[in-house]
């Protein structure tokens, strides 16, 4: 365990065990648990056995950057003045209909639940993106971690040899709006971020150094740093610095995970030749190897002009990629432990503007959850006939995040200590949407 540990909030020794500590003990050869975690203490320690239930849980977030239209995907209103030209089609779940642009997902509706009643209030890209990645509004006095960092922390292992939080964001649109933010969890939980490249930067050893030397110079560095660490706290940046270097070799070993050429051609063909498809395939490879959280951002949904042309092009791609991803995960026995989320910073206005676009809209839109911990085929919440407002089962960002955490076996009321301040995973009083939980 790391150097200094703050006393737990109520001072009881019952709280001195935390999950990571426990897993760290049972994991053979566990290295020192992330030093920056010393600032954080789980206040409400659930029974260890209960907490183990999230072991092996994984998440793939399909981030529809720019804001996809709920009306052209999960909450169609055919025939309404706001409904647009697309029809709805029946799905494998009686009484549930989705847009005709998603025939593949319609056939797999029993694997997916739809929340049609998001009201998240923030309608600008930056604010919306941060809100939907963090599950709450910015607070100037606390740097909140985003979903990826929290899940990397909760689901990953401190001594992981693979990355915990990988994010693909190849588009320029909105990339800077919600960069992966580890917040108070510290840089240990910053994402491995891929933008223009297909393999993370600097993962491959240069030819100018032999492998043995690459390894042993790191050991030499470690030796030098020990001298410096004497009488200094490993909490904070010093700990992060060392942990970062400790993880280098392990991360380098994960390089092959990013190489889809290692997949059989038949598998690659299923995912298709699009960038989104290829990145979803890499996401599956990463999940399979134990990476707890992967975000694949697919941008250009911000259809202020020509909404229907945009969605006619992009929704079938989403339909294809999502359906194949769910199939592939199911065939490999991974779907029961993997939660696939579709989410964006907001949805789009029911009103159709003069350039046949739809604008930003955060008052009544949809997200989906598929796989681990959720009730496939469930539809939660309802919008009015024109899709202008939620009429039943309103869900805010906090409720959505509580639902995601619960689906993964994580107590959404769990608290971290940030300095002397307890910070719950979701704001106090938040209830998950139990109706969609398995």
């Amino acid at each position: 365990m790391a150097a200094t540990r703050p006393s737990s909030f109520c001072g009881s020794s019952d709280h001195t065990i935390d999950r990571r500590g426990f897993l760290g003990t049972i994991a053979a050869g566990a290295s020192a648990f992330a030093a920056d975690m010393t600032a954080l203490e789980v206040l409400k320690t659930p029974a260890v056995a209960a907490d183990l239930k999230n072991k092996g849980k994984r998440v793939i977030l399909l981030w529809l950057a720019g804001g996809s239209s709920q009306l052209e995907t999960w909450d169609p209103k055919p025939g309404a003045p706001t409904g647009g030209p697309f029809r709805s089609i029946p799905t494998s779940v009686p009484s549930v209909r989705i847009s005709e642009l998603m025939p593949r997902m319609a056939a797999r509706m029993d694997r997916t639940c739809i929340i049609r009643s998001l009201n998240t209030k923030i309608g600008d890209h930056g604010g919306g993106a941060r809100l939907m990645m963090q599950g709450r509004r910015d607070d100037p006095s606390v740097r909140y971690p985003d979903m990826g960092a929290v899940l990397a922390h909760e689901l990953g292992r401190a001594d992981s040899r693979v990355p915990d939080y990988v994010t693909f964001y190849s588009a320029t649109e909105g990339r800077g709006m919600a960069p992966g933010t580890p917040g108070f969890l510290g840089e240990r939980y910053a994402p491995m971020s891929l933008t223009t490249e297909t393999v993370p930067a600097n993962l491959r050893k240069l030819d100018t150094i032999e492998d043995i030397d690459h390894q042993q110079r790191a050991e030499l560095r470690d030796l030098l740093s020990r001298r410096f660490e004497r009488d200094r706290s490993l909490s904070g940046a010093l700990g992060s610095h060392n942990v970062a270097y400790e993880r280098v070799r392990g991360l380098m070993a994960s390089e092959s995970l990013f190489d889809i050429r290692r997949e059989p051609q038949a598998v690659r063909d299923r995912y298709g030749p699009t960038q989104f498809g290829e990145q979803a395939l890499v996401a599956r490879r990463l999940i399979e190897a134990g990476v707890p959280f992967v975000r694949v951002a697919r941008a250009w949904w911000d259809s202020h002009g020509q909404n229907f042309e945009t969605h006619q092009e992009m929704v079938p791609e989403l339909d294809h990629v999502m359906a194949i991803l769910l199939d592939d995960l199911a065939e490999r026995g991974l779907l029961q432990d993997t939660l696939v989320i579709t989410l964006a910073e907001f949805g789009r206005t029911p009103e159709i503007n003069p350039s046949l676009g739809r604008d930003h809209f955060a008052s009544a839109w949809s997200a989906t959850l598929s796989g681990a911990g959720v009730k496939g085929g469930a539809v939660y919440g309802k919008t009015d006939a024109n899709g202008r407002s939620v009429v039943d089962g309103q869900v805010g960002p906090a409720e959505l995040f509580a639902t995601i955490y619960q689906a993964l076996g994580i107590d959404h009321e769990k608290q971290y200590m940030v300095g002397s301040r307890p910070v719950p995973l979701t704001d106090a009083g938040t209830e998950p949407v139990t109706a969609v939980l398995a």
């Binding site: 200094t4 509004r137 607070d139 100037p140 006095s141 580890p182 840089e187 240990r188 910053a190 491995m192 971020s193 993370p200 930067a201 600097n202 993962l203 491959r204 050893k205 240069l206 100018t208 150094i209 032999e210 030397d213 690459h214 042993q216 110079r217 790191a218 030499l220 560095r221 030796l223 030098l224 740093s225 001298r227 410096f228 660490e229 004497r230 009488d231 200094r232 706290s233 904070g236 940046a237 010093l238 992060s240 610095h241 060392n242 970062a244 270097y245 993880r247 280098v248 991360l251 380098m252």
Partner: protein
């Protein structure tokens, strides 16, 4: 953190720097040196806790810390040796003054202010800041010039780079100005939970915003001019849906009372504004300022004797945080009564002193770094747990900024024999600035790999990045590795590497370990030396200002 509406008003009064005694108790006399006041208040708090602070850091540490803080780079080994070897009792003061008058100070202070003001936005304020820092332009004047840039002359054109890119988003600009210059983040008032926050948000936020709402951009941001209407009020909707006029109001609650500020524009007045703007566009020249300027009013109110406490305390707190690792108030944009300073009297004293001496930042920095509090060791070898950081009983370990790191990496990997011998010469300063300039590709690489954050992206960059390998580990003439390879004995190689990178002699254990590493690679001595340099450069002793 939620802020109570009433609390803010109280802070406004309390902050009147002309009346600091409102805190209760007299402050130290104003004529004391800054360092003395710092030590008086910091030591007082330490003694109250019954703690023995960490001892004073050794000379090697001090010259490194000071050179990083004042010139944004590590010292060369020769500079360090020269300083350590000197028996002059005034050598610290001499060093501080030399550094404060070096080109490195201008570069570093510019970079720090750029980061504070532009927060990573890559616009072109640097030119303005470089010119300002090089003449030690007072902070209030910088503020005035950023708020009221005169675009008809060169410096004003440069200064306009602050407002221009932000003027279209008045909400963000309002939050940005309040937080940067006054230490108050009013955007946080968007919380809806606290009943008292609502009225604070409405009046203060829109009150501050009203100072900027009359300003617009004529033309496109690069070629266009800032233009301010002389008339007109705006309205905002309260959360209850009631429309209210937005009155120009400073954070203290003081309002602009001029008729031009408070009533709607007449048709005649609208025409005047329009004519002024049209003339500007026709002449391709910045429009004349209006008779009553809202931005000028903001400057006037915020620098007035009654209300300048916000402005003075905010900059004192930021400079303190830069040098001591954390602010006297944390977070730095939450300066309100619900979030008191760790050392209230010290903050008041420093704010008063800063105002009295014309917002001279160089003087403020000089005073702080000459204190004993600044000079403590960053190790805690005392009994028990280290004292809490807000006591400043032990120096904070501070990660170098991206720019400090890039500059230092270049200095550390320069062949020391290529530098001038005279450690106090202008020639040395020039050489060093050239070397630092050459570090900009490294700064770029660091920026793209995690933006200077201490994380795995940076570790991967150093471990496998081609740029790092080819630049820092180059064995060309003039570089450290080139020099090492010309030395015959491993012992000499180890010594020069540790000196150049850590600025000190290797200790026996290190010497043994490094020699052993080289000894196991006698078949590839050049590679072995590269790896030793790599291990030193990537170690925390190099990465941190300690």
């Amino acid at each position: 953190m939620r802020i109570r509406g009433k609390a803010i008003a109280i802070v406004g009064i309390m902050l009147g720097a002309s009346n600091p005694a409102s805190m209760g108790g007299e402050l130290l006399p104003a004529d004391r040196p800054i360092a003395e006041a710092v030590d008086y208040y910091v030591d007082e708090a330490i003694h109250r806790e019954g703690i023995q602070p960490a001892p004073t850091a050794d000379d090697t540490t001090m010259i490194r810390r000071l050179t990083l803080d004042l010139a944004g780079r590590i010292p060369t080994n020769a500079e360090a040796q020269d300083f350590v070897g000197s028996s002059d009792s005034g050598k610290i003061v001499a060093l501080v003054d030399r550094l404060l008058n070096s080109p490195g100070y201008v570069r570093h202070q510019t970079a720090e202010l750029d980061e504070l003001l532009m927060a990573g936005r890559r616009d072109h304020l640097r030119d303005y800041l470089t010119r300002s820092v090089s003449v030690n332009r007072p902070w209030d004047r910088i503020f005035r010039e950023l708020m009221l840039p005169d675009e008809s002359e060169t410096l004003g054109k440069m200064a306009a780079s602050y407002l221009k890119p932000q003027i279209k988003d008045a909400d963000r600009l309002t939050a940005d100005v309040s937080s940067t210059f006054f230490g108050v983040n009013i955007s946080c008032a968007q919380c809806h939970d606290h009943p008292l926050v609502e009225d604070w948000k409405q009046d203060h936020f829109y009150g501050m915003k009203a100072f900027f709402e009359r300003t617009t951009l004529l033309g496109k941001s690069k070629d266009g001019f800032l233009a301010e209407r002389g008339f007109g009020t705006s309205r905002f909707k309260t959360t209850e849906g009631v429309e209210r006029p937005a009155r120009m109001m400073f954070l203290s609650g003081r309002k602009a009372t001029e008729p031009e500020a408070t009533r709607d524009a007449t048709e005649e007045e609208k025409k005047l504004d329009k004519a002024r703007f049209e003339k500007s566009q026709k002449d391709k020249a910045p429009p004349a300022p209006p008779r009553f300027s809202a931005r000028a009013k903001l400057v006037e109110l915020s620098l007035s004797p009654e209300d300048r406490g916000f402005f003075a305390r905010a900059i004192v707190n930021r400079i303190w945080a830069r040098l001591f690792g954390r602010g006297l108030v944390m977070p730095m944009d939450q300066m309100h009564s619900a979030n008191p300073p760790s050392h209230p009297e010290l903050l008041d004293w420093l704010a008063r002193d800063t105002i009295a001496h014309g917002y001279d930042l160089k003087r403020l920095i000089r005073g702080m770094v000459l204190s004993h509090a600044y000079a403590r060791e960053s190790r805690w070898s005392g009994k028990g747990e280290p004292p809490r950081p807000s006591l400043f009983a032990v120096a904070a370990l501070r990660p170098m900024t991206l720019e400090q790191l890039a500059a230092s990496l270049r200095i550390a990997t320069t062949d020391p024999s290529t530098l001038p011998d005279d450690q106090k010469s202008a020639e040395l300063d020039r050489r060093i600035e050239t070397i630092v300039q050459q570090g900009s590709p490294i700064a770029e690489a660091l920026r793209s790999a995690g933006d200077g954050q201490i994380g795995v992206a940076e570790a991967l960059l150093f471990s496998n990045g081609k740029r790092m390998d080819e630049d820092l580990l180059s064995d060309r003439d003039g570089r450290l590795l080139g020099r090492m390879l010309k030395l015959s004995s491993p012992d000499e190689q180890v010594t020069i590497a540790v000196r150049n990178i850590f600025g000190r002699e290797p200790d026996p254990d290190e010497r043994t370990a490094l020699r052993k590493y080289l000894g196991l690679r006698t078949d590839r001595p050049a590679e072995a030396c590269r790896q030793v340099v790599w291990a030193l450069l990537t170690s925390p002793e190099f990465r941190f200002n300690h």
